[in-house]
Subunit: 589 residues, 2 copies
Amino acid sequence: MPPIRIALAQVNPTVGDIAGNTAIVRDWTRRAADAGAQLVAFPEMMLTGYPIEDLAFRASFVAASRAALEVLAADLAAGGLGELVVVVGYLGKVVESADRLGVPKGSPQNCAGVLHGGRVVARYAKHHLPNYGVFDEARYFVSGDTMEVVQVAGVDVALCICEDLWQDGPSLAARASGAGLLLVINGSPFEANKDDVRLELVSARAREAGCALAYVNMVGGQDELVFDGDSIVVDRSGAVIARAAQFADELLVCDLDLPAARSVDELRTDAATGLRIHHVTGADAAAVAREPVHASIAPRLDDRGEIWQALVTGLRDYVRKNGFRSVLLGMSGGIDSTVVAALACDAVGAADVYGVSNPSAWSSEHSRSDAADQAARTGLHLRTVPIANLVEAFQAAIHLDGLALENLQARIRAVIWMGLSNQEGHLVLACGNKSELAVGYSTIYGDAVGGFAPIKDLLKTQVWELARWRNAEAERRGEVPPIPPGTITKEPSAELRPGQRDTDSLPPYRLLDDVLDDYIEHDHGSRQLVEAGFAPELVDRVLQLTDRAEYKRRQYPPGPKISSRNFGRDRRLPITSAWREHSEPRRTS
Amino acid sequence: MPPIRIALAQVNPTVGDIAGNTAIVRDWTRRAADAGAQLVAFPEMMLTGYPIEDLAFRASFVAASRAALEVLAADLAAGGLGELVVVVGYLGKVVESADRLGVPKGSPQNCAGVLHGGRVVARYAKHHLPNYGVFDEARYFVSGDTMEVVQVAGVDVALCICEDLWQDGPSLAARASGAGLLLVINGSPFEANKDDVRLELVSARAREAGCALAYVNMVGGQDELVFDGDSIVVDRSGAVIARAAQFADELLVCDLDLPAARSVDELRTDAATGLRIHHVTGADAAAVAREPVHASIAPRLDDRGEIWQALVTGLRDYVRKNGFRSVLLGMSGGIDSTVVAALACDAVGAADVYGVSNPSAWSSEHSRSDAADQAARTGLHLRTVPIANLVEAFQAAIHLDGLALENLQARIRAVIWMGLSNQEGHLVLACGNKSELAVGYSTIYGDAVGGFAPIKDLLKTQVWELARWRNAEAERRGEVPPIPPGTITKEPSAELRPGQRDTDSLPPYRLLDDVLDDYIEHDHGSRQLVEAGFAPELVDRVLQLTDRAEYKRRQYPPGPKISSRNFGRDRRLPITSAWREHSEPRRTS
């Protein structure tokens, strides 16, 4: 049983920043070498970031990724790191077997490269291309058809990429290949509680493969997606040997004693799975360091803590990776903007958070005082720009009433926020939650403006829960709770007309959110909802409001996905649609 | 050679309106019967509209589509139309062979149903699922694996659906099946000059199949897509027998003399193509009418005429299918809003077009007079709401300058348009063109507001061309040209500061559009562009402007696709991306 020390580099690449991502690989390979590792693995599409969407079609981008891989191999060797085996995700293309199934030569592939001795000694192309939910890989990539098994330090290491692990086949092929380790590189986005599912999967596949399994995932935010890390190493029984923290860069190092490699160098087809297996020998790594390493198993965040951290990570990376330093948001004193302000303080620091309070004739006193209270609690900047005069000026030009007048106020506020953003360079944050977005309870070009919408995938009841959680967390740490308690307990109101309450227009949020969860995340139709016990009138109303608000959602800014189906990449509906769910059965013609 | 009369129903379904779409099928089947047809074919996904996007995942929607098909068959028979064979697209699901390739039973399929004698006598599931460009069918559907050949009036008719015709296989299987007619039902969206490609394809596939080919396409607009009809019948040599008009409902009827059907009723696998071929006998249709029908071949629109008509169709259907009656737009006197106003008059009639002129301190006299001139030419409603006072009111509250002040004006105008829209119920139109959208030369939440953007896929030079074409067309018809000639010839300016010209910030449009065309529609990188003769500084500047404006495009309203790659469904890029094309080669690490 040869001993092998492996390192999983749980890092944060940026889409398109090939130079920067390559620099991360160089730095962390050095760290892995310093830790005595013989093998270091980086996430899926490490060199390009992930997901790259239609950049996959840019020949110049594919060429840059492929060239960067070769240069990286040479640079590592030149830097004395040639003995370490480095597995790294990159954007490749079909070079050989160009006529396979009519696949054109040059088609992009989602690849893992194995670097050793200054060269790329093996390349693996992802077999299973996810094309559901937020994934569109069938649009971009051509599947690989060969499993690569690379001998590292006397151990056979089989490779696969992300979705390959979720599908049957690769783990059985790993078993057939006699590999001692199945190494999986990933770009697996966060969803609430996905870490539990992921651990179960990793353990089950290790048992299927009959070998240890190492799973490395990226961290960081990319538009709507947040990657939570949670890299894992399990033994052949599926027991956890090492596990990295969530949402943090980490080099996860552990020692494994694995079966000796077979001495073959061949390409054969496995009878059971039909997969081609390519055994590569010769990636002999340096001998393992003498002192055994202590493999760490990071504690898990609790359910609310991991959602909070996902939102902070998504926001921070959107700001940073898009070249902003500061954010601006309208602070109404309501729970939504209060929670967004608290998230922003955690993401970029209160010194770079600019709140704007825009009281109207109908704003309550507590709205103003709650915003000021939060500024005092956190240290964020707050300024006040009243809008009564502006409302009057518009009313003199075009006289509006009813909903049009309510929207006017929201839009005047937006003009102020965008003006200050343009003048001072802040990213504007939209503060809408998923319940509002669902039923269209927002003003397009009003409160809906912004470059990023941190809580758009949180139902209103989750907003309250997280507010309570964040304050409790502050108390636990001996810090000032960032959220004025009154904003959590007061009745929600848009304050766009005297005495307005959200429940004038909407069902109570606890009820609304239950319906929305079933409708949006589980595709339940109205009959199913009524069978589940919801009142038919409620169901019809909520579903019709939701269906009719699609046009607003299309123009809403992106925000971090934390649910199993977010508005955006995950749920894609036509704007023009006459389909209306009805709680009563009806003849369709 | 049995004679057969076929009818292709080129009609306009609405996504989600199963009852309405079914009613169209009933009405047009009656018309086909009155015309003596023995077979009538409707477009792809006729009962549900197309594309339905994630509605495919709604079990209630799939069930409604499948039920509607059965009810339709019974209703047609009850109405005395049972003898006519009706081929109609619908949303089906995997019922049999549920374990094929691990496909779960109940997975949605894109189907054609054959109705006869009150029953569904055959069902065909689309084999080739397009997953490129604007298409995402691999996300939604499971492929069929059997070719259906149905005997109609003594002729073997083989079926396929849209993309099936663009891929090799089905035409060869049609030949192998000995079919006399290959019938293709389609939901094929418009692109400039696609009709030429389509005719070539139809002719070539007819020759391959060795039989006549009938191609029926839908018409109408659905969000970003416009379907142009252009239904075609060719003989086995590929020669056109009948062809429907573009962008118009039409029942295309023609008589064919085709080889007699084989008398088989079997399921077998074709050795050459590997396809399963299912021969169904028994759909005996009524005898052909005695009087031969005159098959019409509609004249083609010219290149500009077809683009204009695509934009009119897309706009008209977006308005109508979303329940609006009227539109509102800001009329700056510039060429873009002038062309949008002319399109709107053609789409919904001038009586339902509401223009708003919002002169500022820096608006030129001709801007105001050109808007008034167009109102006089067309009869659209025009009102003027000056914004100088509103600008002053905002400046008193937050003092802005430079670009922030320019944007302020655009946003004040947007607040007025949206207020009037909310108050009066008009759909707001955004007037941006593709060149502006590309380089980000627009104000988000300012001129970019609206529910629909009719010219967002027209480059600026195309806007001018179409303006000239539309005026010439009016003159040809003896009508008043709708576009004031001065708006076509004057220098473009946003008029957001004194003496401003577009060329202060942008290259001349002719040059800009040439670069954009290569970059956006053809994915040329900067080195290719420089090799093509563009100046490196120009290329770097245009590409960087374009890359950095992605966040604005994400929040821009939808508009009709007329190019081979529109912003929206067609071109999908990350907002967060550090990838920058450079005209000079560089080391990537």
